[in-house]
Symmetry: none
Subunit: 290 residues, 2 copies
DNA sequence: ATTTTTTTGAAGAATTTATTCATATTCCCA
DNA sequence: TGGGAATATGAATAAATTCTTCAAAAAAAT
């Protein structure tokens, strides 16, 4: 096994080493140096033999060259070049990014999604979250109300809670929402989902639930929208979404993030139970996979 | 199979490749993977023999491991690690700077979600994405197949595409999937969703679709899982998820991100149409809000 | 219980890396 | 300008590493 001794500290470009040694290299070695400098990006894929042949010198000369510029062996030299190149490339890329020239829609979407999460985290009222989790824990039943895109999020929410053994219900049909709401009492919790905070169907259903005494938690982007007036707890989800871009990824991620916080928060409070339920639900789908 | 996956050019973290192949590795190979992940900074100084001895397996197994995660030879793998490490070092420092905050479960979940997005972006094969978008554009019909948690994602996908005026279908019942698949032809595209890449129902349905000539695109975390063998295009979604934590937020976000890329990519290609459709769908829900 | 398939590493072939040493070249001084 | 010391060079060869083949062992399927 080879030992690494020459801990070349910082990532100084190899070019520097070569240049600083250049005058002390022999003629043949300089030819090696020339080719290495010229083909910097590719050298790392050559073997000593390749390199020697390309330059037109013996392998020994190449070896001697490597040692003179400060590496113990050819392998070490090659490794150093590899690192070096990746740094160089990295810088190249950074520059491109800053110039905004290489900004593909991919990185734009990524940035957008990430900021939805950060936004949500920063807007979060931890006290409200705590309280919401407490209510959910104590509630006889928990219903997620949402229609349209937020209805899908309601289904996701139900799925998440089921995984930790908490049976909740997602109601995504406005009529059934209304009917369900009318059966609730102050032992129940309803979680309303709507990004705009203005979705008629959901709000109407929440009103009914509220009239029957149920606790209302809402997850919305708009802190001063109709839904907040009829909610006991408001959790804000990030990911700005204009009416024109309904169902955007950012908004969805914001909602999911809040739901995950509720779910994880609850799981932490009921650790043993949640864990065993996670295990059970996981095992239950085990024979569904190849 | 006309696979267009794993174009290994940019500086994508090797960790990612290893993780995404992990389940498809044999027991001995996984031992290799474990040690590589653990000793990432040093592996580049080991020879195959060293590494094999340290893990306690034959050199051949190490070689096989390298090939499975996508490198042609040990040298190439080592070179890649070297590049990777020099990048990682830089980032490490950046992260250290930020670590002044108190780490609640909130920031932990946020970090987890963010890295799911970053991971997905970094694993993304742009050529495959392009091709997928092209296929979707030309297809007579596009069906999303998924069951369980991935079924919900299929519904999200349908919703997203509908917003830009592309009627697609989400099929989340395995029987109906099978029946639907049997009606498809080579003019149709099916997009299979499964994080594990091993979901029986989905895979069985995809097989039927494939037999009938349909184009298969799959979105999965695991690069070498059963689903990839029957797919024409594989798009990897980030957000590692052990069997124990099915339906995790990170995995869901990874899937959604990929779907958004497809959707946005398509929208960019058919700009005018998509815009007008966005407007129409948005207006259609306008009288649903207060 | 038996066959088939997969997994595995030992043996050795092929390649790559490193060393030795004889020859070639350069340099210095008479 | 010639002769000898010093240096430079690569062919030959040794050492090491990488890679392949193949048969045995383990696991999976029947």
């Amino acid at each position: 096994m080879q030992v690494i001794q020459n801990q070349k500290q910082a990532n100084k470009p190899i070019k520097t080493y070569i240049n600083s040694c250049y005058p002390s290299l022999t003629k043949s070695e300089q030819k090696v140096a020339d080719l290495v400098l010229e083909k910097m990006e590719n050298v790392m894929y050559y073997s000593v033999t390749d390199l020697a042949d390309m330059v037109g010198v013996g392998e020994t000369t190449v070896l001697r060259f490597c040692r003179k510029i400060g590496y113990k062996a050819y392998q070490e030299f090659k490794l150093a070049i590899a690192k070096d190149q990746s740094n160089a490339q990295g810088e190249q890329q950074e520059n491109d990014d800053e110039n905004g020239k290489h900004e593909t829609f991919i990185s734009a979407i990524a940035a957008n999604s990430i900021s939805a999460i950060q936004e949500t985290a920063s807007m979060l009222d931890e006290a409200a979250l705590e309280k919401a989790i407490e209510w959910i824990e104590k509630a006889r039943s928990v219903h997620f109300f949402g229609v349209g895109t937020s209805g899908l999020t309601a289904l996701d929410a139900k799925n998440r809670f089921l995984r930790i053994g908490r049976r909740t219900d997602a109601v995504i049909d406005s009529h059934i929402q209304a009917m369900t709401a009318s059966t609730l009492t102050n032992e129940d919790v309803v979680i309303g989902l709507t990004v705009s905070g203005s979705t008629k169907d959901t709000i109407d259903s929440l009103k009914i639930a509220r009239e029957n005494g149920a606790h209302i938690i809402s997850i919305t982007y708009y802190a001063r929208s109709p839904i907040t007036k009829i909610s006991d707890i408001v959790l804000l989800s990030g990911g700005k979404e204009s009416p024109m871009e309904g169902g955007s990824l950012a908004a969805k991620i914001g909602q999911l993030f809040v739901i995950d916080l509720l779910c994880t928060g609850l799981a932490l409070r009921t650790k043993d139970f949640s864990l065993s339920m996670k295990e059970r639900t996981a095992r239950s789908v085990l024979d569904k996979i190849y």
